[in-house]
């Protein structure tokens, strides 16, 4: 049986946007995000990021492209459990080959920005869900990516943590011009998004800017 995962999407995201992709379950939100992030292979069409057609890249080139250009925030935080908050943030910079001094400075700065300066040496299992997701955002920002892909980032958070996280991301978008692309069905995220793209069965049915 042939299953079409996403279909005729034609989408362009500009630098500095704060965009939410919404739609019912099975509409193709996560698959679209995976394709944009180079995690899923594209069988037809292409994904171009800052002039690079990532569908032509090899696996290793894609890994390197993701490392240099894309920050990921996952629904279940997915931090490295054996590393502290600071080490988690530093890790991605380590993969980029950034010096120890710069890693230390930037990780501390990012964790301060997300309000976790007092949790530098704490491991993920000692942090709340909201705090873990903040570390995940700090990690995603650590590599200075072109944009951040966040797949249902608030799905496991309570209202207060969600509000805090969204405030923090909106502030980064405002001040640092960091591009965010969410897939979500969380109304709280949709309410804060500046652009809302609704897809259904792989087709964009609306694209609204607020």
């Amino acid at each position: 049986m042939k299953v079409l995962a996403v279909n005729n999407v034609d989408l362009s995201i500009n630098e500095g946007e704060f965009t939410a992709i919404v739609g019912p379950s099975g509409s193709g939100k996560t698959t679209l995000l995976n394709m944009i992030g180079g995690l899923d292979n594209i069988t037809h069409g292409r994904v171009e990021i800052s002039g690079t057609d990532i569908s032509t890249l090899t696996d290793n080139q894609l890994i390197d492209f993701r490392l240099q250009n894309i920050g990921f925030v996952f629904q279940a935080y997915n931090l490295i459990p054996v590393l502290t908050a600071k080490e988690n943030v530093e890790f991605i910079m380590l993969l980029q080959g950034i010096s120890e001094k710069e890693r230390k400075l930037r990780s501390e700065e990012l964790l301060r920005d997300v309000g976790l300066v007092d949790k530098l040496n704490v491991r993920p299992n000692q942090l709340s869900g909201g705090q873990q997701q903040r570390v995940a955002v700090a990690r995603a920002l650590a590599s200075k990516p072109s944009f951040i892909l966040a797949d249902e980032p608030t799905a496991n958070l309570d209202s207060s943590s969600t509000a805090n996280l969204l405030d923090m991301m909106a502030e980064m978008n405002e001040k640092e011009k960091v591009t965010f692309l969410f897939s979500t069905h969380d109304q709280r995220v949709i309410d804060r998004a500046k652009r809302i793209i609704t897809i259904e069965d792989g087709k964009i049915i609306s694209d609204e800017r607020t």
Binding site: R66, F72, P81, V82, L83, D151
Partner: protein, 405 residues
């Protein structure tokens, strides 16, 4: 690199019980391997030493024809030349001239075929362990004529004891049947029952009186150490061209082969132990990867390349060995150090051991290079064990990390 090592190290302690079980199996495997190797090596060395000490010595010299059919007419023609040559060699610790005859020993109740060994009692004392192995009587100290030393196994068979009278019957070099009555002066026991049952010792002067000639059929000698045997053997072969000179390896090839077979056998044992360890390690690492597949997928998603993932899993596997191997080696070395001094008493199977020339107490021993060999083997096999789980990790799709959230 440092961070990957840190992650790998912390990862193995995420499930401490499981890691400790694998580490324990590595420790036990190496310990068992070392022990089996040392025990087998000690056993084989002891067998060789017993054989050299009780019977064959390091080197033997005969008439070139003697060993074809052990005929007593093939005696050593110029014993003085041999004596001078041996006296001039400082690597030789002791030697003894012997008269050898095949014959029959008869007690009032039974007879048995034996090899009659005529010895110079002082020379023989330095050469073999017959004197040290006396369990009853004395070492040719009786003032009565024709004393004879018999092995305990033979004494039991013939139902004789010290002071019992036996008759030796043999052929002289002219094929005449010669008989003589001998009185048991002592009973000896070595670690080889068959030797004790098949050999009797009498003094050269007594045998020569019966034969009416001074004939020696064999010179047996011991070097200062077994390492000197090869060079001494070569020298004697060059200097005594009219005689047949044989070293212990050619006298008793099965002992020399046993050394070689033992090496292959020990290698095989280690390989079997390592193979068992490999499967344990593979199983553990596969479980670890299965449990952490989301995490590994996430690492790939955020930009950790495949070689680093491979290195991470490889390092985790190696850490298990790095902890287990030295502990196992240390435990093994300690066990060998203790048991090489105390020995391992196998008294319960002493009879069986003595029937193949072994003592009841085995002293394990290991060549130092074997520790290095085992260390290399452990790391080599661990690397092999790490390949499959590492490859499994590489096949994970990063999307699994996101989709299974």
């Amino acid at each position: 690199m440092k961070t990957i090592l840190k992650i790998a190290w912390r990862n193995i302690w995420r499930t401490p019980m499981r890691s400790l079980i694998v580490i324990s199996s590595i420790v036990m495997g190496i310990w068992a391997g070392i022990f089996v190797v040392a025990f087998s090596y000690g056993l084989n060395k002891q067998r060789t030493q017993n054989s050299i000490k009780n019977s064959i010595s390091h080197i033997q010299i005969h008439h070139p024809e003697y060993q074809k059919d052990y005929d007593s007419k093939f005696y050593l023609k110029e014993p003085d030349l041999i004596k001078t040559t041996l006296d001039g060699d400082s690597t030789i610790k002791a030697y003894a001239f012997r008269s050898l005859l095949n014959g029959m020993v008869s007690s009032p109740v039974k007879s048995s075929g034996v090899r009659i060994i005529g010895v110079n009692k002082n020379q023989e004392k330095e050469l073999t362990s017959i004197y040290a192995g006396l369990v009853n009587g004395n070492y040719f100290e009786s003032k009565r004529r024709n004393p004879i030393l018999v092995g305990q196994a033979l004494a039991e068979k013939l139902k004789i004891k010290v002071q019992s009278k036996v008759v030796l019957t043999f052929q002289d070099s002219e094929n005449n049947i010669v008989s003589g009555a001998f009185r048991v002066c002592g009973i000896f026991k070595t670690q080889y029952t068959k030797h004790d049952q098949g050999n009797v010792f009498i003094e050269n002067k007594d045998i020569q009186r019966l034969l009416k000639s001074e004939e020696f059929h064999q010179v047996a000698l011991l070097c200062n150490s077994i390492e000197q045997v090869d060079s001494t053997y070569k020298k004697l072969k060059t200097n005594l061209t009219n005689y047949e000179v044989k070293d212990w390896k050619s006298i008793s090839p099965e002992l020399a082969y046993a050394d070689k077979i033992m090496e292959s056998w020990l290698f095989l044992i280690m390989v079997i132990i390592m193979l068992a360890l490999i499967f344990g390690i593979i199983n553990t690492m596969l479980m670890a990867i299965f449990e952490r597949r989301k995490e590994l997928g996430m690492l790939m998603a955020i930009g950790m390349n495949r070689s680093k993932i491979f290195f991470l899993v490889l390092t985790e596997t190696l850490f298990l060995s790095i902890i287990g191997a030295p502990t196992g080696l240390l435990l093994g070395a300690l066990t060998i150090k203790i048991t090489s001094q105390t020995g391992i008493n196998l008294g319960i199977i002493a009879q069986g051991l003595e029937s193949v020339g072994l003592s009841a107490i085995i002293y394990p021993e290991i060549q130092p290079h074997f520790y290095l060999f085992i260390t290399i083997m452990v790391f080599l096999f661990t690397l092999i064990a790490a390949i499959y789980p590492s490859r499994k990790a590489l096949k994970l799709k990063p999307t699994e990390a996101i989709r299974t959230i």
